[in-house]
């Protein structure tokens, strides 16, 4: 009885399948096409869309680079070579590439003359790197110890003049006992390290604030030159004094304004 029932069921299923197949046959092709379309969209079109988006980003990046390069080219075209040469000369005198002994001695002599302060003696520390200033500890400098033979007001005037001198300097310590005083200074310099130019980085042009600084240094330099010329004519100094490695030299009171360098290795 059971076997007969099972056989009957199989026969029914087959017929149902045939009927279903016959009924659904017209739907098979549209169904296959829809499935194919969905699969093709997912596996072919969608990755292509991603590629297009990437290309769009790439194009935007290149356009941005071109605008930066064009801006840099415009800046380069607008630059006057001679103007920059003069500015570089002024700034290089203010911040020399190495220890500028001549410039330092000239600055000290001019500051002494400008403040009418007689200098007792001074010594230059050769081979010393700046560690004295907390703020500017990373900046290379030449240490100079100065003895000023005058009252605190004169020490102040001398310090003020010294800070307006070229090469640029910083006073690292100051002392006065009412009759004479000592001023320790650091004259800065900066070796030039060759820089690689990245054409995509914007070229920084000198702005009005920078020009004001350059002009200020130029003015200081002019005053310094005048003071130095006066000091030279009064004391029959050679126009470009060079430090001689004398261990220690203390001038006579008559020649107090004459800077006597002492090179301390």
């Amino acid at each position: 009885m059971n076997e007969k029932q099972t056989t009957t069921t199989i026969v029914v299923s087959e017929s149902t399948f045939k009927i279903l197949l016959k009924e659904l046959k017209p739907f098979i092709l549209p169904f296959v096409l829809i499935v194919f379309s969905i699969l093709a969209f997912y596996f072919i079109v969608y990755p292509q869309v991603q590629d297009v988006l990437k290309l769009k980003d790439q194009e935007t990046a290149i356009k941005s680079d071109i605008s930066k390069l064009s801006a840099n080219q415009a800046v380069i075209s607008s630059i006057n070579d001679n103007d920059y040469k003069n500015d570089i000369d002024i700034l290089t005198r203010a911040m020399p590439e190495g220890k500028d002994y001549t410039g330092v001695i000239k600055a000290i002599a001019a500051a002494a003359n400008g403040s009418s302060v007689p200098l007792d003696s001074y010594s230059l520390a050769v081979g010393n790197l700046a560690t004295l200033s907390a703020n500017l500890s990373t900046q290379s400098s030449l240490s100079v110890a100065l003895q000023v033979n005058s009252n605190p007001q004169s020490v102040q005037r001398f310090s003020s003049e010294l800070l307006k001198s070229v090469p640029l300097c910083e006073i690292t310590s100051l002392n006065t006992n009412g009759i004479s005083g000592g001023v320790s200074t650091a004259f800065f310099y900066q070796p030039y390290i060759e820089q690689t130019f990245n054409p995509l980085l914007p070229i920084v042009q000198v702005n009005s604030a920078d020009l004001a600084i350059i002009n200020q240094i130029k003015d200081w330099e002019n005053i310094q030159d005048t003071n130095y010329a006066t000091a030279s004519s009064q004391l029959s100094l050679s126009p470009t004094p060079t430090p001689t490695p004398i261990p220690s030299l203390t001038p006579s009171p008559e020649s107090l304004a004459t800077p006597s360098p002492t090179l301390a290795p």
Partner: protein
């Protein structure tokens, strides 16, 4: 006995099936058309971007070459900026000891003598003498005002006040912390 035979109902069912088939075919057609259109659009867009990128890359290379040919001017700018940066840093960050000394000297009167002034880093020491206490007191008051106004001096410490009875000289010894 066949009770459920209804010829009209069967015709209606066949009509529905035909409609469904038609609908399925329309949908399939739409999908295929959409696929083709999107494929074509993407293809053309990709081609257009590729061509554009090629042209832009050539333009970029040309600009880079032009800039590199101006190496003299570029080196000048780099050197100028290098010096300018260092100069600006020094001018902005260096301590103006002359102004500090000027400020301290401005607080004293003619009756006061500066025996010693030492300033190093952010600290300083002062020794002053006077024939009476009044100028020393005035000086201290003025320094206190500077501290109060946060001008140049951060704090003052009075180390000693000595009197020389023979010479009639008052000596004040101070320590300063600078701002």
């Amino acid at each position: 006995m066949m009770y459920d035979i209804n010829l009209l109902k069967q015709a209606k069912s066949k009509q529905l099936t035909k409609k469904s088939v038609k609908l399925a075919r329309v949908f399939a057609g739409l999908f295929i058309i959409l696929l083709i259109i999107s494929f074509a659009v993407v293809f053309f867009e990709k081609h257009a971007y590729q061509t554009s990128i090629q042209n832009l890359t050539a333009q970029k290379q040309s600009l880079i070459s032009t800039l590199q040919s101006e190496s003299g001017k570029i080196n000048s700018i780099l050197l100028l900026n290098n010096r300018l940066f260092a100069v600006k840093r020094i001018l902005n960050e260096r301590t103006s000891y002359d102004k500090i000394l000027q400020t301290i000297l401005n607080q004293g009167s003619d009756q006061l003598t500066y025996t010693s002034i030492n300033i190093t880093g952010k600290t300083g020491s002062l020794t002053l003498t006077a024939s009476s206490l009044a100028p020393l007191n005035d000086f201290l008051d003025k320094l206190k005002t500077l501290v109060k106004n946060k001008n140049t001096i951060a704090s003052i410490k009075q180390n000693s006040l000595t009197v020389d009875n023979v010479g009639g000289v008052f000596t004040l010894d101070l320590s300063l912390t600078l701002l």
